[in-house]
Every structure is written in structure tokens, then in C-alpha cells.
Symmetry: none
Subunit: 184 residues, 4 copies
């Protein structure tokens, strides 16, 4: 069963979610179809087992980002948090790659990811509402910034560059912080 899980990670990452056949996983795990169906009901089932670790860790991280404040130290705190997030993201890279694919075609696969996004957006929104008044709508701006972070991270992942580098992290932190506290 452990063999099946690691084989699944490998195959899902190599061939992608849709192109992966139960048969591929079974072959790489060097076991039988019978064994596969002993532990998992189907391809989706083993996949969900695979992503649950990644999503729960990233959910936890998303909730952990506290209030930032307009000072440069706020920016640095965000930067450091983005670094942590990036580390997790990279660590689960093979799974997240396939998951993004699955989530694009299946709404129910998206839900855990949307929780993460939501937590993130809320935190940003709070920052903006508490800070200097701005002409931007707090919710819209937060969503835009989260979209930026999410998509930038994914680009790196998709192009199989590793790791998400300091320049990207700095840039994201700066643009976000500027977005949250326009004067700064």
C-alpha cells in the first residue's frame, strides 16, 4: 500500500492525472490490480489520499499568517511567510502538479484548494480594511493579490523550475505590501 502510494505520486506526476491509468500505477508499484482495489476504490480515491497531506499542511499555513502592519517589517514578515509557503509548495510539487490538473476539470477536487485561497484572501482583506483608506475595493484587491501569488507559484511548478527563487518571493511580497498599504 505504501508502494502503491509512492508509485502513484510518481505516475501522476509523470503522466498527469487524466493520462494515468490504474494499470500504470500497479505496474510501477510492481503489484497487482487486485491489491490496488484492496486499498482504493478507484483512481480518484488514491489521488485524494495523495493530496490530503498536501492540502492540509497548506491550509494550516494559510491560516497562520497574522496581521502585517504597514511598516517595512510587515513586508518582511509577508516575505518570510511566502518563503515558508513556497517551501511546502515545492515539497509537495509532484502532487500539486497533478492536483492542479485534476482540479481544473473537477469542481469537487478544487474545494480543498479553495479553502486555502479563501483563508488567504480574508487575511489580506482584513489588512486593507484596517489600514489607510484606499480607493481599491478591499475584497477585489485581495483576490487579485492572492491570484498573483498562486499563479506565480504555479508557473514555477509547471515549468519544473526549482525552487521558487528569492527574486520571485521579494517581488511578490513587495507588490502585495504596496497593494495593502499604498503609501508605503
Amino acid at each position: 500500500m505504501g508502494r502503491l502510494l509512492s508509485a502513484a505520486i510518481e505516475v501522476f506526476d509523470q503522466r498527469g492525472y487524466h493520462a494515468t491509468r490504474v494499470d500504470d500505477i500497479v505496474k510501477v508499484a510492481n503489484t497487482s490490480h487486485g491489491t490496488f482495489y484492496l486499498y482504493f476504490t478507484n483512481k480518484e480515491d488514491i489521488f485524494r489520499a495523495l493530496i490530503s497531506d498536501a492540502t492540509s499542511e497548506m491550509s494550516r499555513l494559510a491560516e497562520s499568517l497574522g496581521p502585517l502592519g504597514p511598516e517595512p517589517s510587515g513586508r518582511d514578515e509577508l516575505r518570510s511567510w511566502l518563503g515558508e509557503f513556497a517551501t511546502s509548495y515545492q515539497r509537495f510539487a509532484p502532487v500539486i502538479r497533478a492536483w492542479t490538473e485534476a482540479a481544473t476539470s473537477d469542481a469537487s477536487m478544487r474545494s480543498s484548494g479553495e479553502d486555502i485561497t479563501r483563508a488567504f484572501v480574508k487575511m489580506f482583506e482584513r489588512q486593507i480594511r484596517c489600514g489607510t483608506p484606499t480607493d481599491l475595493d478591499p475584497r477585489t484587491a485581495s483576490m487579485a493579490l492572492v491570484a498573483m501569488i498562486e499563479r506565480s507559484f504555479y508557473y514555477t511548478l509547471r515549468n519544473r523550475e526549482d525552487p521558487i527563487n528569492a527574486s520571485v518571493l521579494n517581488t511578490l511580497a513587495t507588490i502585495c505590501h504596496r497593494g495593502l498599504y499604498p503609501g508605503s
Copy 2:
């Protein structure tokens, strides 16, 4: 053949790229499998025929965005351009929805989209390099901003909200412009 194309748009949008079977398209088009294969070699073929309109129009648009300048008028120009882009994007919504799904699992499907992204990024990069020096890496910052626009548009599309509203467009234009010209 026209019937096949419009049926395909409908079915791809309803069921998504992977879940769509040639049979579904043929049924909605009220024609036969034989006819389908008379005009298209397979599912991918008709799909590419479908997206080519959308991608070529959007490529053209991406190239059309000229130098912006740091003044508020630059921001307004960007805003107005984003509005145009959003209009196209919405117009092709059903196709883009399915295309995003296909592109996530198939690199060769991505290429036309990447052309658009690239053109966009280059333009932004030029702006930053010509403008006030900034501590942000021009290429990285440009990519982040393009990622933000792309993803924000896609969110609206995915949630089947219509249209991309003024608040989103203003927010994106403002954050981008601020990103390009930090002082402004």
C-alpha cells in the same frame, strides 16, 4: 460542419474537455460519426479548430498594448485596454473554459496561450526598464502582474460570473500601474 463546431463548443463547455466524447458532439450536432471524421481527425482536432479564433484574437490584442507612461493617463490606457481584453475573453468564454482545462494537462495545448502571456510580459517589462529604476526585477515583476491579470480573469470565467466588472478592471489596472511605476 458548422453544426459540428457549435455543438462542440456547447458540449466542451458543459462537460469539459476530458469528459467530452465524440459521441456527445455528434449527438448534439444531430449528425453522424462518419461525418465527424470527414471533417476532423479526432477530438483534439476539432478542439484546436475551436480555440484558434479565440487565441488569435487575443494574441492580436496582447500585441496591441502600446507603451504606457507613468502618468495617470497611462493607468487609464491600461484600464481601457484591460476592458477590451476582458470583452474578448468573455466573448470566447465557453471555449476558453474548456481550453484552460485542456491546457493544464497537455503542454502542446498551452503554447498559443503562452504566446499571449509572453507578449504581455514583454510589454510590461519594457515599461519597467524604461521607467524609474526600481528594486524589483523587471521580468519577475512583469510575470507576476500578468499572472495576476490572467488568474483574476479566469476566476470570473470559472465561476461563470459575467461580466468581468469595472471594480476588478480598476483594481488590476491600478495595482499593475503602481507595480510598473512605484512612485505614481
Copy 3:
């Protein structure tokens, strides 16, 4: 599809309902699995298609038996009706054989047969209620007599004897008539 249906009759009769595999039918019909699933959703589906002719004809027959009367002519009428019923029964023998098997394990397969039984029982019951008072409960007696007919016919079918012979028909008619009109 006609080939599939006649192949199915043959195979179901030879191997029985449970032992029959879609593969067996396909092989005898000299066609492919694809073709099978083009016309039928599964083994049960083709089976139901097969029995519907038999059950509808026999339902019609069951309804057609009119009031009998206590005189010997009543007995003869019943006798003649049983002969007709037996002819139908024999004609559909291969299907009924497999159907009895399927019905024993699957309640939903039984329903059409139960309709026939019910119609039959009702008719007998009416006879008894209208005739000379008897110490037997009309409904119970009717059910017993129908059970006798049904089971006697089935024995012949199961042992692949053909046809249900005159002696059996006479015996059943006599016992039934005596049951309905004790004095006669």
C-alpha cells in the same frame, strides 16, 4: 442485434442465467463486445428484452380465462384453456427456463410472473365464491391450485420433456375443477 437476441436465448437456455457471461453471448452471436453494449446496457437488460414477449403473451392468456361453471363443460373449458397456456409455455420454454432461475434470485425479475399468477388466482377465487359454499377458504384454495398448475408445468419444462402431455392437462383440469366445485 437480432443475432444477439437469438444467441442470448440459446446461451441462457444452455448455461442458465447466472452462468451466462456476456462474452458467451457475443461469441455465439459471432460479434463483438462493442456491438453488445451498443444495444444493451448489460446482461440483465438483454434478458429482460428476451422475456418481455413471453410474459406479455402469457399475461394476456391468464386474463382470458372466463367463468367456468360447475358442469362438466366447465371442466372441459378449463382443460382447453390449460392446453393453450401449455402451448405458449412450451413455445417460450428456453426463455422461461432461464427466467425461472433469474426470478428465484431476483425479486424484480419475478414481478411480471407474479402478475400472471395473480390474474389466475383471482379468476379461480371468483369461481369458488360464486359456486356451492365450501369449507375451503376461496383465496387459499385458489392459490394452491395455481401453485399446482404452475409447478407441474415447470417440472415438465425443467426436465426438458416436451410437450406437456394430455394426461397432465386432464389431471390438472380435473383436480382444479373438483377443487372449485367439490360436489361435481
Copy 4:
């Protein structure tokens, strides 16, 4: 092993013979596949072990019915014997239910039941041959009566009604006795 047997009775009765998997029995018995195959060679094996009690008891009963005689006391004797038989039948209801199913698809499962039927038919036949001459063929009439009893009992069993009531027993005894001794 006792646990396996009682679990088997329960599962065979709930799911029926064909739908029962060894796995179901093992789970209900709260033991392992290994243990199952230690005591039984396969599903059929445990099933035969299960029905042997029922069939041997009922065989014994079938043989125990003595000559009846044309007087009312003959009818009463039959009635009382049917009562005993019904009691056994009900006692083994769960097993007989599944057995009927198995017997319908597998001739070798039928044999023990056919012994019972045969003994029963023979006894009836003897009655008729020794009694007043009748226009009915003794063997055919006997088989019809046995078919009636057998099927009537089974109906009660199948519809999970309990127990076979006095009215049914009286009716069967009366119709049989009348069949055996037409004048009576």
C-alpha cells in the same frame, strides 16, 4: 467453524446464494479467509454442509408418512403430517430459501430435494392405486399434488410470512385427500 456456519446461514439468507461472496461470510463470522478455506473447499462446500441437516430431516419426514385410507381420519392424518412437515420447513427456512435458489440453477443441488419429492410422490401413488379406481393417472395426479404442496409451502417461505397457517394446511390436506379418494 461453528461461527462460519451460522454466519453462512445468515448471509446466504440475506443476499441469496449467488450474490453471497466468501468475503461476506468471513466478515460476518469475524474470521479470516484463511480460516474459511481451512474448513471448506469453497462456497458450494459450506453451502452443502448447511443444507444437509435440512434435507436429511425432511427426507426422514417424507418417508414417515404411512398409508392414509379414504376415511376422514386419513385426511386428518395427512393434515397432521403436513403440519409436522411445515414445522420443519419453517425451522430451516433461511437455508431452504437459499437452497431453492441454488437448486434452480444447479442440477446437482437439486438431487436431495428430488429424493424428498420422489418419496412423497410414491406414497401418494400407492394410495391411489390401492383405493377406488379413478380416471386420473396415479403417477400424474400424485406429482400434481406434491407440486401443489411444495409450491404452496415455498410461497409462504419466499414472502417471508410465518408460519404456514392452519388454513393453508387444511386446504392442502383436503384437496389432496379428495384427489386421492375422489368419492370422499
